[in-house]
């Protein structure tokens, strides 16, 4: 109930529509990886998934941000069912990769921002290694590139009042780690897959 309400509000504020360019909504396990410019990003991807997929899809988010207040923690745990990871100083006991692999399990999908944080420039920043390690450990999972556009104009980094423009969301063709493909090659290919959606 609360979840549907939040999804509806997110759709209203972002005015976003989803374009499934390279794949269709499916229950198979996926990692949706996207460019990151606004606090709305994870919320909007999550909201625009069909309801039955929304229940299976968990956004990966920064623990330092989402545990700052009780409200944020409530939203992360009870509404989005977020996977909170340590991004500042990961240790062997507190390894983001382990958390993400556990969260994936055998049913779930993830929403993941491989740039590591919100960007303010126009371009997509180089992807960090996490995406590669996920792809290496879970070759059965589909990696779906997602391009978010205009959300940074709705709620830019550092602002707290949203302006009601229309965002857009494009889902591209899933990619997988090729046999023998190196880390940098895979990360570049993933980044290009997101960038390429600008022209569709």
């Amino acid at each position: 109930m609360m979840k549907s309400l939040f999804a509806a509000i997110a759709k209203l504020i972002s005015g976003a529509s989803a374009r499934w360019v390279g794949c269709v909504p499916d229950v198979r396990q996926r990692v949706y990886f996207a460019n990151h410019t606004s606090n709305l990003d994870a919320l909007v991807i999550w909201a625009l998934l069909p309801t039955h997929l929304r229940a299976l899809t968990r956004p990966v988010a920064a623990r330092d941000y989402w545990t700052k207040s009780k409200l944020r923690l409530y939203l992360a745990n009870n509404i989005f069912n977020a996977v909170l990871i340590e991004r500042k100083k990961p240790t062997a006991h507190d390894n983001p990769l382990t958390d993400m692999l556990n969260a994936l399990g055998y049913r779930n999908s993830l929403i993941f921002f491989p740039e590591g944080g919100r960007q303010t420039g126009k371009d997509i920043a180089p992807f960090k290694g996490g995406l590669f390690h996920l792809a290496k450990d879970r070759p059965d999972v589909e990696f779906v590139p997602v391009l978010l556009e205009n959300l940074n104009r709705i709620l830019p980094k550092g602002e707290f009042l949203p302006v009601p423009l229309m965002g857009s969301l494009s889902f591209g063709t899933p990619i997988k780690l090729e046999a023998g493909e190196g880390k940098m090659a895979f990360l570049h290919r993933a980044q290009d897959a997101v960038t390429a959606l600008q022209k569709t």
Binding site: G15, S17, T120, N150, R153, P156, E159, L161, V163, P164, L165, M166
Partner: protein
């Protein structure tokens, strides 16, 4: 603001409903006649447009039935949606964020509030004077100078077209026309009907006998045949509706001509902006038509002119 629903209003509404029924029937017949793929696509789009017209007429009718305030709320929402489409399409920068917040949540509601309290002296100048000066001040305060003039002009333009010009439609309800008290709802209905039927007729004439393009680089669908046929037939219909207005038949023809010519100009200008931005439609909210802005471009340009002509000559 109370609106009288008299016999003439029912004739207007009944006429529009009859027109929709006939159009739906024609669309249904055409859909079984079309054979080529191109023909089928055109008829499919036509039927989508007709379905959307049913919705739009229902919403407009409902707003009018709730009296003046319903119409003001409807056009405020229309402004909001159009502004949203317009600003989405025009690149602004981070430095404009708070200016945009003012535009959407303070200036827009304020304009419609001024219309609701019929404060003509202020609603006619609030956006062209005060908002015009406020917008660059607010953006300059944010400290980003890149493309400053261009960004400011875009926001001012958006506000003028999507809010100021559109707000002149419900502002028709505030005119005090001698011998026409309480009947302004019909005047607004007349205006919207003439402007929109002119669009429809230009489309129909253009699709059936259109050959010579007026401005192919701006709008490939606008032809001289569509323009002349559409304007002439819409003006005739407008003249024939004089009984619902404070005008004589000849005056009504003149008014309709002004509405349809301005409406045509509006469609052309808004198309030029779309082409420049490399899109076909402003949005996808209204099936078959495109965005809200695509449907109201003619109203934007015609409303202030019709309002002021009526105000100057009839009040």
């Amino acid at each position: 603001m109370k609106l009288k629903l008299d016999a003439q209003t029912y004739w207007l509404v009944g006429g529009v409903l009859a027109l929709l029924v006939v159009s739906s029937l024609i669309g249904w017949v055409l859909s079984s006649c079309a054979t080529s793929d191109k023909g089928k696509a055109t008829v499919e789009n036509l039927n989508a447009r007709i379905r959307a017209w049913w919705m739009m007429v229902a919403v407009f009718g409902l707003a009018m039935a709730t009296g003046g305030i319903g119409s003001i709320v409807l056009f405020a929402l229309t402004s909001f949606l159009a502004l949203r489409e317009f600003i989405t399409l025009t690149p602004t920068r981070l430095g404009d964020h708070r200016t945009l917040f003012w535009v959407f949540f303070i200036i827009l509601p304020l304009q419609y509030y001024l219309i609701a309290i019929k404060w003509y002296g202020l609603f006619a100048i609030m956006i062209p004077v005060y908002a015009f000066l406020f917008i660059p001040i607010r953006s300059a305060t944010a400290g980003d100078c890149e493309n400053f003039l261009e960004r400011t002009a875009k926001i001012q333009w958006a506000l003028m077209i999507c809010v100021y010009c559109i707000s002149y439609v419900p502002a028709l309800l505030s005119l005090d026309i001698p011998g026409y008290a309480g009947q302004n709802g019909k005047l607004m209905f007349y205006f919207v009907l003439v402007a929109q039927i002119s669009d429809v007729l230009q489309y129909v004439w253009g699709k059936t006998i259109g050959r010579h393009k007026i401005a192919p680089s701006v709008s490939p669908n606008k032809t001289w045949e569509g323009f002349i046929g559409g304007i002439a037939s819409a003006t005739l219909i407008g003249a024939g509706l004089w009984w619902a207005t404070p005008f004589t038949p000849w005056q009504s023809a003149g008014m309709s001509l002004a509405i349809t010519l301005m409406g045509f100009g509006g469609g052309l200008v808004m198309s030029a902006i779309k082409r420049d931005r490399g899109v076909k439609d402003y949005g996808n909210m209204i099936e078959g038509h495109g965005g809200v802005m695509d449907r109201i471009d003619s109203l934007c340009f015609a409303a202030p002119v019709f309002f002021h002509l009526t105000r100057f000559f009839f009040t």
